[in-house]
Amino acid sequence: MKTTLRVAALLGAATVLGLLTVQGTLALWSATASSGAQAVRTADFTVLVRTADGATSALGAGTSPVTLPPVTGLVKGGSRTTAVTLVNATDAGSGAFRARVTAGTPQVQGQLQSRLTVTVRPGTDAGCSAFRPGPGIDLAQGASGVLCVTTTLAAETPASLGGAGASVIIPLTAEQLP
């Protein structure tokens, strides 16, 4: 009985080993070719903001602020216009990436909040000597445009506010044009 079992066990082991070995013989001809397809990269959506003093920063995601140079020496009833240059520096491969930069409603904070009026208009290529209609400017890839920020201090501003300050926040939104 023991001998019979041993023989059966050996046959079983031999069968398993045989089957495992046979698996290796299933390999048939095959050939593989690589594509050399490389990598696809996406562009960086970049709009630069250049202020009158030459400082350049990029519009970031969310609410990253771009600081403009301070407007000083504003008198009652007077206004001051500052040019802000915007550059579509997106590195799209097509070279045809157009962007529209739109200025939102300026928000004035501080002591002069109720006395200060801020308007933002697109300027011409020459600067802020003339204005274009519309709230924003369209920029071709690599092109630049000018936004003109005009700050006006109300004529009825009381003398007690002389020397007072205010901060102005101008939300700028850049979007891709189809």
Partner: protein
């Protein structure tokens, strides 16, 4: 006869038998070659040509410098040459599937011959030129700054031509 004489006679008889027996080994014989012919092995070969990238308008782009923006769709086209030889040769042409999700969407790779989808099982008669295509797209609906400065490595895209085991003849 003494022992010496008997021994000499026995030796002589043995030698004579050996000599005589040698003569009986020569018989008619003839050799011919069977015309079995030559057994030739078949062939299975897959070669890839130079792939090209084009934009949605079909204009060639250089991927080394090209960067995709929302609304862009690039197509990679790869010429392949299949060679199958063998009476019982059957093979399958497959490709690695690089399909991935957003934001940079890599579509499924397609194989075609003469602008029609390639058959699953190829025979020697199906040898010839094939075209593999895969598209990569950054949807126009991509919002905010999602998907900027991304990489989709398609270097893993490979094609395999694999023989299908011949079925046993009845």
């Amino acid at each position: 006869m003494n022992k010496m004489t008997k021994g000499a006679l026995a030796t002589g008889l043995g030698v004579a038998l050996l000599i005589g027996g040698g003569g009986t080994l020569a018989v008619w014989n003839q050799a011919v070659e069977a015309p079995a012919g030559t057994v030739a092995a078949g062939d299975l070969e897959l070669t890839a040509g130079q792939g090209t990238w084009t934009d949605a308008a079909g204009k060639p782009v250089s991927l080394g410098t090209y960067k995709v923006v929302p609304g862009d769709r690039l197509t990679f086209t790869q010429p392949l040459t299949v060679k199958l030889v063998g009476d019982k040769m059957r093979a399958e042409l497959t490709t690695t599937d690089l399909a991935s999700g957003s934001p940079l969407i890599v579509g499924a790779t397609t194989l075609a011959k003469d602008n029609t989808p390639a058959k699953t099982e190829l025979l020697p008669a199906d040898s010839g030129d094939y075209t593999a295509s895969v598209t990569v797209e950054l949807p126009a609906a991509t919002s905010g700054r999602v998907g900027t400065n991304l990489n989709a490595d398609l270097g893993r895209l490979t094609f395999t031509l694999e023989q299908i085991a011949p079925t046993a003849a009845p």
